[in-house]
């Protein structure tokens, strides 16, 4: 039987499959459906220091093999998360990744300090939400801005710090190198691509915010290319995501060098996707005589 355990920034995950932030709630929503033993970690709904009500208007829009969302970081705030959501999330079994966004460097810092004092396993720093001006995308486009916020947050926590990158970065490799230099323990990529839709009847943009984030299989080959580029450039572990729906997709990202993968939009098409992907990876490994993912990670580089 294949050994699915992977090391991520010094923490052991029982499988390389992580429920992606914004698609997996705080994990409990899927616990009646998914055998959590197959889930390595859950990255919770993106948090901000103070809670947010999220965006008005249309929030979801289907495209051919994709989904555009404009949720707008609706969340109960870091303190509420720690008090009311974290204990149940912790009890689920998978490692806990707290996803932290912010509007200013100070709110990032304060959020990180609060999370540092808890038993979360990882902090995933979201500098890539395209749906809120104050959601971090400002820091996710220019490498110099990212360097500053990551350096400052780094000083606030000794937790493994994984920086989630936006594909809308000016240059994904420079962005990754800047975050690594600033002290990130790992990187996750990619968040959603900035996109839009227009309503023919109203002749106006579908979303109140005009632009929104595209995810799903439509972005997978581009995400894979970016993960490959970043894995070639950096020495810290990389978590690959972007349209992964099957074990085959996940294995492509691992061959591109990813230490682990996140499953996002696919959870909507198949609520058992995380379990199915992990089982599928194990089956593929067994069929190919692969005992651990270390044997094949980065083989395509």
């Amino acid at each position: 039987m294949a050994d699915l355990r992977v090391d991520l920034c010094g923490k052991e995950l029982r499988t390389p499959v992580i429920g992606a932030s914004g698609t997996y709630g705080f994990g409990g929503e899927f616990s009646g459906i998914v055998d959590m033993n197959w889930v390595g970690a859950v990255s919770g709904k993106g948090l901000t220091l103070e809670g947010k009500a999220g965006n008005t208007g249309v929030r979801l829009y289907e495209t051919p093999s994709g989904l555009i969302n404009s949720i707008g970081l609706q969340n109960p705030g870091v303190r509420h998360f720690i008090e009311h959501e974290l204990p149940a999330m912790r009890a689920l079994g998978p490692a806990v990744m707290a996803n932290l966004g912010g509007s200013t460097i100070e709110t990032y810092e304060e959020g990180a300090r609060l999370l540092d004092a808890t038993d979360v396993d990882f902090i995933e720093l979201n500098i890539s939400c395209p749906n809120v001006k104050a959601g971090g995308i400002a820091y996710g486009v220019k490498a110099a801005s990212a360097h500053e916020v990551v350096s400052r947050v780094r000083k606030c926590t000794s937790k493994p710090l994984i920086v989630k990158l936006s594909p809308n970065a000016e240059n994904i490799t420079e962005m990754a190198l800047a975050c690594e230099d600033a002290g990130a323990d790992g990187l996750s990529l990619v968040n959603t691509f900035q996109a839009m839709a227009i309503d023919l009847e109203t002749r106006r943009p579908v979303f109140d915010n005009v632009f929104a984030g595209l995810s799903g299989p439509a972005i997978r080959p581009i995400a894979l290319r970016m993960v490959y580029q970043v894995c070639k450039a950096v020495n810290v572990p990389v978590v690959g995501l972007g349209g992964i729906a099957t074990a085959r997709d996940a294995l492509e990202f691992i061959l591109a060098g990813a230490a682990a993968v996140q499953i996002g939009t696919a959870n909507f098409a198949n609520p058992r996707a995380c379990e199915d992907v992990a089982r599928g990876i194990a089956a593929w490994m067994d069929a190919h005589g692969v005992k651990t993912l270390d044997e094949i990670r980065g083989a395509a580089l």
Partner: protein, 255 residues
Amino acid sequence: MRAQSCEALVLVNEEEATGIRQMRVNLPAGQPEPKAGMFYMLRAWGADEPPLLSRPISVHRWDKETRVLTFLYQVKGKGTEKLAALCHGDRLSLTGPAGNGFPVEAARGKRVAIIGGGIGVAPLLQLAREVHPVAARVDFLAGFRDEVYRVDAFEPYCANIYVATDTGSFGKKGFVTDLLDTEKYDLAYICGPEIMMKNAARLCLAAGLECYVSKEGVMACGLGACLGCTCRTEKGEPVCVCKDGPVFEGSVFYG
């Protein structure tokens, strides 16, 4: 109760009226039983096939003894077109039962109006079946644009049935709210188009009736994870249609 996922066998999938279909499926043993007002995410196509999202459809009728689960749905787009193409013996995946059902106990000993508009009648049949044994009296008030459907199915559970159509093709010409004499009731359950629910709920609330509405929302997961179906209450609070609802007290939105 936590939603589960399963494969169900299609027993019948037939047209009920123009663009309105009724599908009966067998809910596998061991799956949790739904209550009136709950819904399932339906998918009859691969995870890698369009449309990307599964479709939320409410429980029209649940027969515990035979484990037959009935959906009534309107064929509106790519997802429901694929559901419409299912035949006896086909399989589809169900995730649910999701959401909170109607508060049935609230009807105990009361005079109840069940008010439906168009395809909004879908969750109300199971509601009538559950409310009938506890309420003092149940009336069904239904409004349709032109073609009337599924009204007969309510007869065993309702003392009176009143129908309105926009075109006057059946029953009273006008809106379902024209049929509503609030003095005759203590409590109302409402499901239909947004404008109809708003008007009906406001009439009920103004007359001091207890009132519950079942909302619709575009959603990705049905489980409270995606926050795609969030809408704002009258007070501006964000609530999830899927997890906090789909049934809400009328005053939450129309107070």
